[in-house]
């Protein structure tokens, strides 16, 4: 099995029964693959089925058609190999921080004794910077700290893939920024394969290696795969100073504002198995005359 197809989504569809006896197709014939160690990000408007794609990857939902192959094996149901970070953090409120993470650890390694479980959990509590808050309950934590626990819980079971469903959308901008830094650091350090859903363009540009653009649903399709041209050692602070920054950002924004609506109509012979890969870059040619004239 080649490592370029560590995750391979093969022709999945999701349909719901409609009121008139037919079926509403959220998306169909969706093909998508990602190599090991990469950070992939689906971006699209609400209702394009991106959360459904993630839930299918997690095994929490089943596709109406098609299969998902992870590490050479078709998935069936949920697995400890695929950890999920939920949008609403989903911590068990009757357990402490330590209890929540230890619950995950002892679910993966059932034969470990208590001391070993706690020791392992502690490593991940330290990793996300929650040292000292082990015995607090979720209700005593801020939104950002709760999501840190969620991240630690997902990392603690050393999954093959980490799946994130808009993990930072409920947080304020400052907390979101710090948590993005943490996620970037941890995923780079561990070479964690990660798949994320978002509708925040800046978040996708900072975190993702590949950005998957989805058109509006129902009948959503994967329109384009955008390769991130920004350097791997990018930092959130001076990201916008990079020459490729606006090329990338404008490309994604253009898609979300106009092309996501018109794509299906204007591209009749779109092949869902050969989705075009683009790499928006700054070129010396005056692609944006209005901008250059404005600067003079």
């Amino acid at each position: 099995m080649s490592s370029t197809k560590f995750i391979s989504i093969e022709g999945i569809a999701k349909r719901y029964p409609a009121a008139n006896g037919g079926a509403t197709t959220i998306f169909e014939d969706l093909w998508l693959s990602m190599p090991s160690g990469e950070f992939g990000c689906i971006i699209g408007h609400s209702g394009c089925g991106k959360t459904t794609v993630l839930n299918i990857l997690a095994g929490l939902d089943e596709p109406s058609e098609g299969t998902v192959i992870v590490d050479g094996q078709a998935i069936s149901g949920t697995s400890l190999d695929r950890a999920v970070i939920f949008q609403s953090h989903a911590l068990l409120p009757w357990l402490t921080v330590m209890g929540n993470i230890a619950y995950a650890v002892s679910s993966k390694w059932r034969k470990w004794d208590k001391a070993k479980v706690r020791g392992h959990a502690q490593t991940y509590i330290d990793k996300v910077g929650l040292t000292g808050s082990e015995h607090k309950r979720p209700s005593e934590l801020s939104g950002g700290m709760k999501q840190r626990v969620g991240i630690a819980r997902a990392l603690s079971i050393t999954p093959k893939i980490m799946l994130m469903d808009e993990p930072f959308s409920a947080l304020d901008a400052l907390t979101r920024g710090t948590l993005q830094d943490e996620v970037r650091r941890v995923t780079l350090e561990t070479g964690q394969t990660t798949f994320m859903i978002t509708h925040d363009v800046d978040e996708a540009m900072y975190l993702a290696d590949k950005i998957f653009l989805m058109t509006n649903g129902p009948g959503a399709v994967l329109a384009e795969i955008v390769e991130n041209p920004l350097p791997r050692d990018r930092s959130r602070i001076d990201l916008h100073k990079h020459p490729h920054y606006y090329a990338l950002r404008n490309h994604i924004i253009d898609f979300l504002v106009t092309r996501s609506k018109t794509f299906t109509a204007t591209t009749p012979n779109h092949d869902p198995r050969r989705v075009p890969v683009v790499r928006p870059q700054f070129t010396e040619a005056p692609t944006m005359p209005s901008l250059t004239s404005a600067l003079r």
Binding site: G59, L60, L80, A90, P93
Partner: protein, 279 residues
């Protein structure tokens, strides 16, 4: 100076209590002799006729009798003369046993109904019909089949306390947040472990609320049930003292039923607080 709310409430409570006792005392005290009558006739008529004393005992009579009962709660002078403690003990024992059996049945069954939409739909008509039946309506059937009055009372307690627990357990289990279930699913936690580590703690506050409602109903029903089956228990005591025309003892029994009921309710309330988690 503004005193704390608690203190002011206590003052008002005591004032209401004293006012009640005062009115009670005034309403039942002896007035002057009612009229002249032959001494023998007066003897026959008793204090009610001779000095205008009400047949209803005053607070001092009840207080004196209560003190007597509290000093010797566990005496046993044969079938119709037992201490108040023994009678309450019988009632609490019956309630405890019937209620315990109800817990054993209602909570697992509630889990089944809450976790399985099929069983929920299949059992719903039975529950809807059985739930509104007055527990005492079961009594003849229980006496006929069980052929033991004491066990029949326990059965009646079982049947009246099972419904609130069953419905609350089923509701609590079915209403567990989907994301918590999903956490357990992504961690490959099996059904059995999931029921104990996620669903039980998540539904515990709702289940305990159902148990609290049940213990209240069970304590209401035991008095009526014991009046029917007789022999022992606080309900039988009330009825027996009514037949003895001892209103004083009836009032004391009513007071005791209230106090024990409150204690039972508070115990369950404490358990409920123990399992409630802040979100």
């Amino acid at each position: 100076m503004i005193q704390s709310l608690r203190f002011r409430a206590a003052v008002v409570s005591i004032a209401i209590f004293l006012a009640f006792i005062g009115v009670w005392h005034l309403a039942t005290r002896s007035t002057a002799s009612v009229g002249t009558m032959s001494p023998e006739y007066a003897k026959l008529m008793g204090l009610t006729a001779t000095s205008g004393k009400s047949a209803m005992p005053g607070p001092l009579d009840v207080g004196a009798k209560l003190w007597e009962h509290l000093r010797r709660p566990f005496y046993d002078n044969g079938p119709n003369d037992k201490g108040l403690g023994i009678q309450l003990g019988y009632s609490i024992g019956r309630v405890g046993l019937g209620y315990f059996i109800a817990v054993l049945v209602a909570i697992p069954l509630g889990f089944l109904i809450g976790m399985s939409p099929l069983m929920n739909k299949a059992l719903d008509p039975f529950i809807q019909v059985l739930k509104p039946i007055s527990p005492l309506a079961w009594m003849p059937l229980a006496l006929y089949t069980i052929k033991d009055s004491s066990l029949s009372a326990i059965f009646v307690i079982f049947i009246c306390s099972v419904w609130p627990m069953l419905l609350n357990t089923a509701f609590g289990v079915a209403a567990v947040r989907k994301e918590w279930i999903n956490v357990a699913r992504t961690l490959e936690v099996g059904t059995f472990r999931r029921a104990f580590t996620v669903i039980l703690p998540a539904a515990a506050p709702t289940i305990l609320t159902g148990m609290r409602i049940s213990i209240g109903i069970a304590w209401l029903v035991i008095v009526a049930a014991e009046m029917l089956v007789g022999g022992t228990g606080i309900g039988y005591f009330v009825w027996n003292e009514w037949n003895n025309l001892s209103i004083t003892n009836v009032i004391i029994a009513i007071l005791m039923i209230g106090v024990v009921g409150m204690l039972l309710d508070q115990t369950l309330a404490r358990f409920t607080r123990m399992v409630t988690f802040p979100e």
